[in-house]
Every structure is written in C-alpha cells, then in structure tokens.
C-alpha cells in the first residue's frame, strides 16, 4: 500500500510537468493582450509607448524560451509567477478562492451521496414500478436542468418569497457557521442536484447489474432477506462505479462551477478562471490549470485507494 501510494505520488510529477508544458505553449496561441485589456479597459487613448513599457515591466517582451525557463524554474519552488492583472502571486490568488470552491464541492458531494445512494437503491429494487419511474424522472431532470439555471431559480425564489439574498462574501465555517452555510448551501444545492442525478443513475444501473450476479441469486435461493443481501453483498459491490463518478464529479466541481459561482456571486476558482481567461492573464491561467490538474490527480488517487477498501480483491500494488 505504502509503495503503491509512493509510486503514484511520484508519477504525479511527470504528469504535472507535461500539463505545465502543454498549457504554457497552448495558452500563448490565444489571441489578446492582457496589457491592452488592462490599460484600455474604459476606452482610454493610451499610447503605444505606455503599453510597451507595461509589457516590459511584466516581462512579456522577453523571448518565449526565456519566459518558459523562468516559469519552469519557479515550479519546483511552487512559484507560479505573478498575476499579470493584479501583480499578486498566483498562489495567493488561488489560495484566496480555493476554500470556498472546496467547501461547495464537498457540500454538493454530500448532498449527492445523501440523495443518490437511497434513490438509486430504491430505483433498482423497485425496477419498473412507479417508484422507479418517479426517481428516474427526478434523475433525468437533474441531468437536463443546467445547474446555473437552477441557481437562478433559487435566487428568484428567495427574492420572491422572502425578498432576501444571502450575504456576499465568504466567511469560513469555523468563524461563523450560520453565515457560511447561508451563503454556500444554495450553490451547493444547485450543483448538488445535478451531481446527485448522475450518481443516482449510476447507482441504479450498477445495482441492477450486481443483482443479476450469481452470488446474489445464490443468496436469494438460500432464503436470505433482501435487505441483508443488499447491505452485505450488493451495495458494496455496486459502489465501485458510483465512487468513480462521485470522485470525478467532485474534481470537476473544483474548477467547474464557472457560471454557478457567477450566479451566486461566489468568489471561487471557477470565477477566477473565467476572469483570467477573459483578461488573457497567462500566468494565472497556467497556475489554475496546474491546480485543477493536481486536484484531479489526487482525487483519482483517493478513488483508487477507496476501491481497495470497498473490494478487498483489488490489490493496490
């Protein structure tokens, strides 16, 4: 187990280097100049001389290979450079936004698990009954309704019913749990619904497949209670693909709450990503891609480790 973990962690390094190289060069194909966007934002007649001076100050006048070398030298020291827009270190910009994105992703994950496992199980158990049909309608609706639209409905609902909206800004959970939850619960619910829909469908199909297995039939033939069969044999085996889906969706949510964060005025990673791309802030985009890639890799690793726990037949070596 230890060696497996170590090997996987070592493999993270070349993966991230590959991502870093690809992002560095791909991003520079993107048209647009951050300095022009910054200095001519409100249509001001800014001279070319001023624009050139600012480009020079930001190091954008250096040859590409030199910019690349500076970037790669900084990586081992976790120095991702400075945002071309704010001048602040990229790591600081990301660290400021990561907690809220993580919290919303975790809350959405919890909501998804709490909904998906019971609903998916019920749906599989009562296959083709009105319960199954009802749950499938709920699940398909969750897939069909975009999270941001659901978010807008939530906002409109809060406004129409209570003339109230949650406070703007993020307060850590341990500082003020009520304010924190009043801010984060709505975006978590709006993305959690879709998340739950994906997991419910996966839970249902996976459980149906497991229920067709010989060992389940044998248990039934022996007269074991259905509830016991589900708990002891079916659920655990059916969880493998569900865990994969939950893990991947979670990683996606870290940087993928782009529109939902905007709808709820949440200052998270998704919003930062959109802003950085719109401004052409190369350094920040590179940092964000690396950060999200790291999250994906680590969450995948965690999912792989969970496999071993769920199914002892899987050997992690």
């Amino acid at each position: 187990m230890f060696w497996y973990l170590l090997r996987r962690l070592i493999l993270v390094i070349p993966t991230l280097i590959g991502v870093a190289i690809a992002v560095f060069f791909l991003i520079r194909v993107m048209p647009g100049d951050v300095v022009v966007v910054k200095l001519r934002a409100d249509g001001a007649a800014v001279s070319e001389e001023t624009i050139e001076a600012e480009r020079k100050r930001l190091g954008l006048d250096k040859p590409l290979y030199q910019q690349f070398a500076d970037y790669m030298i900084g990586l081992p020291r976790l120095d991702l450079g400075k945002s071309l827009w704010t001048g602040e270190p990229v790591t600081k910009e990301i660290a400021l936004r990561a907690p809220v994105s993580f919290q919303i992703a975790i809350m959405a994950g919890v909501i998804a698990i709490l909904i998906a496992i019971p609903l998916g199980t019920l749906s599989a158990l009562y296959r083709d009954s009105w319960i199954d049909h009802g749950i499938r309608v709920v699940a398909v609706s969750g897939l069909a309704i975009p999270s941001f639209w659901l978010g807008m409905l939530i906002i409109l609902g809060l406004l129409s019913l209570f003339n109230w909206l949650p406070k703007i800004g993020y307060v850590p959970l341990w500082e003020d749990p009520i304010t924190n939850l009043s801010v984060t619960i709505w975006p978590a619910a709006s993305v959690g619904y879709r998340y739950a829909a994906v997991a419910t469908r996966m839970m249902r199909s996976s459980l149906l497949e497991v229920m067709r297995e010989d060992y389940i039939r044998t248990a039934r033939a022996k007269g074991v209670w259905t509830r016991l069969i589900m708990r002891r044999h079916a659920l655990r085996n059916a969880m493998l693909p569900v865990v994969t889906v939950i893990g991947l969706e979670f990683a996606f949510l870290i940087g993928g709450l782009v529109v939902t964060e905007q709808v709820f005025n949440i200052n998270g990673i998704g919003k930062l990503f959109v802003d950085a791309t719109a401004r052409g802030d190369f350094n920040l985009i590179q940092g964000l891609v690396l950060f999200i890639a790291t999250c994906f890799i680590l969450i995948n690793l965690a999912v792989d480790l969970l496999y071993g726990w769920l199914d002892p037949r899987i050997r992690l070596n």
Binding site: V36, D42, G43, A44, W164, Q262, N265
Partner: protein, 527 residues
Amino acid sequence: MKRTVLGMAAAATLALAMGSGLAFAQTPKKGGTLNFSVVAEPPNYDCHGSTTFALIHPIAPHYSLLVKFDGKDYPKVVPDLAESWSVAPDGMSYTFKLRRGVKFHDGSPLTSEDIKASYDRIISPPQGVVSIRKAYYSDLDVSAPDPATVVFKLKNPMAGVLEALASPYNCIYSAAKLKQNPRYPETEILGSGPFTFVEHVKGTSWSGKRFDDYYDKGKPYLDGYKAFFVKSNGVVPGIIGGQFDAEFRGRNPQEKAQLLDKMKDNLSVFEGTWVNNLMLVFNTTRKPFDDVRVRQALSMAIDRWGGSEALSKISILKFVGGVMRPGYAMSLPEAELVKLPGYAKDINKSRDAAKKLLEQAGVKDLKFKLLNRNIAEPYTPAAIYAVDQWRRVGVTTEHEQLETKLYQDRVAAGDFDVAIEFQADFMDDPTAQFSKFLTKKLSPSGYSGHTDSKIDEMYEKQRRTIDVAERTKLVREMERYALTQAYNVPLLWWQRIIVINKKIHGWYMTPSHYLWQDLSTVWLDPQ
C-alpha cells in the same frame, strides 16, 4: 416626435436638480454604512495608471484631489485641497493656495510637496510606473514655492486646465512615500480623503471607514462604506435582496423597471445624459470606406431620431448628438446638427440621398462586416439597429461579435471594415472627446486610420484657445468638419439611469460615472 430628445435631457436634468435640492435641504444625519455594488474590480489601486470606474468607485473616497468637479453643478470646478486659485492674465500660469492642516490618513501633513510629487508622477512617471494621461498634462510644469502654494506653469497655452486638474484619477499621494517607493500606490492606500482604507477582499468587497481628521469638519457623514464586486446581472437581485443599496455606474431601462416594480416606494431614480456614446468607426484604409461619399451614405442611412425613441426603451442608448454630448455648452445646437449628414429628421429623404451617394461612388451591393464586442448592453442592440438601417439602402452587413480582448486586438491592428467603438471620459472637454476622431499620429485611438491632418490642426487650435467663446466656435467648426468627413460617426449617446435606495441622500448624479464618488456628502436616513 413632439418633444425633442434634447428637451427630454433638459427635463431629466431639471428633475435631477430638483431631486438633489430636496435631498440637500434636509439636515444630514451621521452614521451608518453605505453598501453599494461595483460591476468590475480594479487590477490595482493606482489612480494614475487607471482608466476604469472600477477603481474610482471603491477608491475615490480615500483620496483628495487638488480641485474637483461639483456634483451639484457640473461642470463647475470647485476646490478640494486647493482653497483658492488665481490665473495669470496671460493664462499661462495657475497658482493654487492650499488648505492648511490637511492630513494624510497616517497623520502626516499634506503640503504642496505632495501635490507636486503626485503631478510629477503623472507627467514624468519614474521607470516602472504607469501614467495613462501623461501626454494630456505634458504642457504643465509644477512647482511648490512654499508649503501652501502650488504653481502650474504652462509651456504652451492650454484650454480647460482646471477641468483637466479636476480629473478623478489625479489622486494626491504622499511625497515622502513616493520617494521611498514610487509604485506604492499600486498596493497601498494612503490618501487624505474622507474615508480611510479598511480592507480589500479580492473578488468580493472593498471597505472604508470615516477619517476623523478629514479637512472638511463634520464630514463625511457616513461611518463607512462597503463596495461589493458583483457581475452586472447581480445588481438588480442584490438591491432587491438587500445585499446593497446602490450601483453608481448606471442601469438600463428594463432593470430600472424591475427595481421599481419590486421596490417602488423605496427607491430614488436619477436620469440624464451620460458622457458616453457609441460610434461607428469606418476603416478608411480599406475600400470603399476611403471614399467620403460611402461613409456619409452609411451615416445617412441610419435614423438616429427614430433609433433614439426605439432603443431608449430597451437599452441605455438614447440621445442624438454629434461629437460633443447633447446639451453640453460647446456642442452643436440641434438646429445645426440636423443639417449634417446622418442627422436629418426626414429619414426617407436622407436614405434617398444615401443611395445616390453610393451610386455616385460606384458602390453597388455593398457588403461588409461590422465588428463589435460580445457585450450585450448596449453593443448588441446598437449593431442590430445599424445592420437593419443599412439593409434599407441595400447594404448587407455581417455582424461579428468578439470577446473584448480579441475585439481590441483587431481594432488596434486595423483589421476591420466598420467597428462599433465607444467614447467615454470623465468630462465633456473637447480635448478629451475628440481623441478618437484624430489621426493615428496624434492619437493612439485614431482607429479609423485616416490621415486628414486638418482635423488634427483644428484639434490643436481649439486646445490652445483659452477664450471660451472663441474655443466654442472652433469646436463647433471641428465638429461640423468631423461629422461631414465621417471617419467616425456617433450613433447615439447614452442615458445614465441610477436607481438607489431612498435612504441614500447627498449623492448627486453628474453626466459622468467617474465623478463625485468621494462620498463625502452622502448620508443615510433609514426612515
């Protein structure tokens, strides 16, 4: 149309003035925190290197200026740090006497050295410092003969000196701090304005609290303020939901209607002209836009008066005007404007003339691309309207909307046929307003690429003419010439609509969203 658009503008301004007057007649109450939203966030804190309201709205309350525009009586310039001033008889030097006892937020005294250091930073920025408007002030030489006096000497005659010095971007910084680090204003706030800096939560909010040693005793009235950075579509729900009480840039008519529908009795509405317009830029380096007849024909095909009526209901586009804002003292009167190509009120006659001009120019079945930003308000309705208007004279247009940075690249590189560009500045002064109408030689935003030096000469001449009546004559002459040559033609001017909670008093709307945002006169009446 019985009432002219200008008439409506005047009525709106009057209503505004009356509204403001009523608010002012009440006794201001002390206390409370003003919460407002800003629909963008500044990249850094340096006024001298900025061009955006996103900096002005949260940061202006921290700084004093030498002089400022009067919010109650725009475009009058009133003292801020300056107590009084005198102008040399030849108009070549301005001497300002400063208030005594003004302090920076750290308690250090503000003297003429700080004014000089700040203006020196604008005019001749040290290496690494961005000064956006240095060319604008290049004719000024600043000296500080004693701690309470600042003298601005002009190398050449320059009109509108006071207005230029009232720029909301000319924040006064500490000379001592600048000496240590000329770039400190990018990351630190040390001003002498009515509010001290409390906190900037990136991507979320900016807050300030009352500066008890503010030079204007008794002000500010507020305990503090908090600016929330939100996306534009979050403003209306935010006001209704009580997250904040105002947004000071401007909303569109539908948003005004939504707010009034929900909170009719709790809102104050301010409406008037805005020192912003959308214009069509013809790329004169491309055929057939090098032909004045084609440019004029394309301008004449557009029914601005009808457009004003239709578009003002769905967008912030409203007022018909030339290069200068309609209603501004130096702008062409409507009677003269209607004689110029593109401004006639009889659109059928105008379109017939447009078709003839295209025929004379030998242009048949004209097809071109209209380059635009992918920002809905007001760019999309403006372009759709223009495309439809051109269709009526047999011109086919493809509307190409790009992300702002891609749009800017294309326009700056001259890679377009016709583009929709906007003009926005903090004041009406012609020297600022004509910047996009000049040749590239004189202005970096002379995007039409024309090489007509006559317009540059006229520009320089008005810029050097101090006598207001004479300057007005020159400006109008230049406006007539610019609109006739039609390198760029204004489409419509914007309407500024501000909807704020009724509890906010002492805020005055000017035609510019960059002005009167130091919040020193604002107070709250919760009742």
